[in-house]
Structures are given as structure tokens and as C-alpha cells.
């Protein structure tokens, strides 16, 4: 399967989607000019991945900042992984937040309340 590696910038996140090495990771800042266009290949990749996922997938979020438009898309991403889980695969979200960043911690908690995927919270 195709590997997607998008290098982060000051307003777009670093994205790694690598099925073979089982690495799915989003890090950095997300406030792209056009969230829909930026995340379209990501959502497409996950749909493709859903056809033959690894038995266990860890989805890593290590975001410093995201705007509200991104928060909606992040939920869409999580819902896609929830579908994969409901198909009988194991999914875990690893949610990282800076030690004193209550907003990012709370954002992780909120997502975990909306989707059924188990979340593991880590401060760094």
C-alpha cells in the first residue's frame, strides 16, 4: 500500500501513513488554509487501508495545536478508524499532549467520549 509522508509546516501537520511498518501518526500544528483539501488524501488513504488493515493499529496524535475546522476533520478520521475496529480489528489511539496543555488533554478526552476506540493518554 502507498505510503503517505507529509512534512509539517507552521500551519499543517506532519503526517505519516505507513501500513507496512504500521505507523499512523499526526503531529505538529493543524490550521491549513483549506482543511478539506489538505485532509482529502488522508481520508482516502484510510478508506483504502480499511480494506486490508493490520490486526492491530495504533493511531498516534501528537498535536501542539489545531483549529476548529481541523477538529471536525480529526473526528472524521477517528470515525473511519472506528469503522475498522467495528469490522473486528484492534484500534488504539495514542493521544499525546504537553504536560501543562489542558486544552489538548481535554480535546483527547472529548474525542474518546465521542468514539468507541480506546484512548491511551500520554503527557510529555
Amino acid at each position: 500500500m502507498e505510503v503517505i509522508k507529509i512534512k509539517g509546516t507552521e500551519d499543517t501537520p506532519n503526517v505519516i501513513l505507513d501500513a507496512e511498518n504500521n505507523i499512523i501518526e499526526f503531529s505538529g500544528r493543524s490550521l491549513p488554509e483549506d482543511v478539506v483539501t489538505f485532509y482529502a488524501p488522508v481520508l482516502q488513504w484510510i478508506e483504502e487501508y480499511a480494506k486490508s488493515p493490520n490486526p492491530k493499529t495504533e493511531v498516534i496524535f501528537r498535536l501542539e495545536y489545531f483549529n476548529t475546522a481541523s477538529s471536525k476533520i480529526l473526528l472524521d478520521i477517528l470515525l473511519k478508524f472506528e469503522d475498522i475496529m467495528n469490522d473486528g480489528n484492534e484500534i488504539v489511539v495514542q493521544w499525546y499532549f504537553q504536560e501543562d496543555d489542558e486544552d489538548m488533554e481535554e480535546a483527547g478526552e472529548e474525542y474518546s467520549e465521542i468514539v468507541d476506540i480506546p484512548f491511551e493518554m500520554h503527557s510529555y
Binding site: E10, D34, V36, N67, T68, A69, K72, E110, I114
Partner: protein, 191 residues
């Protein structure tokens, strides 16, 4: 003579900005580039007087959401076209006069008068809710809302209220038969 008037006008602007502690005033089109420039300007400025991390984050967040609201909503109306305020907005960042030395972000943009009741209802709803109520509203909107063509998620105002813990101050002024001017003030106080 006209020349002198302009000189006085600029000087008056300058005095007004200082008197009101406005550190950034912009009137015009809000683009992504402008958003990036203003937020990094504010970050640098706050760094220069060692502003604390949590305040910096809040100001950055409110600025991003306010600027995105302006860029997404200021040009939606066809009837605004050709009236001189299409796609434009005013954006101001200032220091609060109060003892705690916080900040406020003020925005203004034209909206179609037909959209005012809906916007007013949302603002009133947000202002009535407490922390938990806002959290639930945000989650509900995230689940049920969809992204508009321009990437708006309908979450910006809710999020601003959540992050600042302040009520949103707003006003609508009639521009003409079809259009109104929407003014919003968000305080970011030191808590």
C-alpha cells in the same frame, strides 16, 4: 490644506490607538497569509515581554478563530457585492485597560440581515451556557455539523467562549436594507 488634514488624521489615529491600547488594527481582506502574519506578529510581540504560555496560547487561538470567521463569512453575501465592504472586515487586537492586563480581540464584518437572527440566537445560546454546557454543544456540533465549502465547521464561536471562559460581546448595526455590520468583542483575561 487637504494635505495637512491627512497629517492630522494620521496623528489622531496614532493617538486613538495608543489611548485605546490597540496594538494591531487592520481593515481589509482577510486571507490565510494575513492570518499567518498577524498570529506570528502577536506571538513575537508577546514573546518580547515574556507573556506566559497559557495566555499566549489563548490569544493565538482566539485570533485564529476570529480571523477565520472573518475570512469565511465576510464575503458570503451577493448583495454586499459592489458596496465597498465585500469580503472585508476590521480586525483589532488590544490590551485590556483593567488591572489584570489581559487582551481583547475585536472584529467587524458585513453580514446579510437575513442571517442575523440565526447568528444572534447562537451567540445568545453560547452566552447562556456554562463550561459543561459549552463542551456538550461543541461535541454535538462536531458530531452533527458538516464542513461548509469554505471549511467552516460552525465551531469557532463556541470554542472562543470555551477557551476564554468569557461571555461574547456583540452588536449588529444596520448598513442598508439587506446588510448589517456584525461586531464581536472577545476578552482574554488573566485568571
Amino acid at each position: 490644506m487637504e494635505n495637512v488634514d491627512y497629517m492630522n488624521l494620521v496623528y489622531d489615529f496614532h493617538k486613538e490607538m495608543l489611548a485605546n491600547k490597540f496594538t494591531l488594527v487592520y481593515e481589509g481582506e482577510i486571507t490565510h497569509q494575513i492570518t499567518k502574519a498577524f498570529t506570528s506578529l502577536a506571538e513575537n510581540k508577546m514573546d518580547s515581554y515574556s507573556e506566559d504560555a497559557s495566555m499566549k496560547k489563548k490569544v493565538f487561538h482566539v485570533m485564529v478563530e476570529c480571523l477565520q470567521n472573518l475570512s469565511k463569512h465576510a464575503e458570503e453575501s451577493d448583495s454586499i457585492e459592489g458596496k465597498g465592504y465585500a469580503g472585508n472586515g476590521i480586525f483589532i487586537v488590544g490590551r485590556l485597560d483593567e488591572e489584570n492586563q489581559g487582551y481583547h480581540v475585536l472584529t467587524g464584518n458585513a453580514v446579510e440581515t437575513t442571517k442575523v437572527p440565526e447568528l444572534k440566537a447562537l451567540l445568545e445560546k453560547i452566552n447562556q451556557l456554562d463550561k459543561d454546557g459549552l463542551k456538550e454543544l461543541f461535541k454535538k456540533q462536531m458530531r452533527e455539523g458538516s464542513l461548509s465549502e469554505k471549511g467552516g465547521a460552525g465551531l469557532g464561536l463556541i470554542d472562543i467562549a470555551r477557551k476564554t471562559g468569557e461571555k461574547l460581546e456583540y452588536n449588529f448595526i444596520d448598513l442598508d436594507d439587506n446588510n448589517s455590520f456584525f461586531l464581536l468583542r472577545t476578552k482574554i483575561s488573566r485568571k
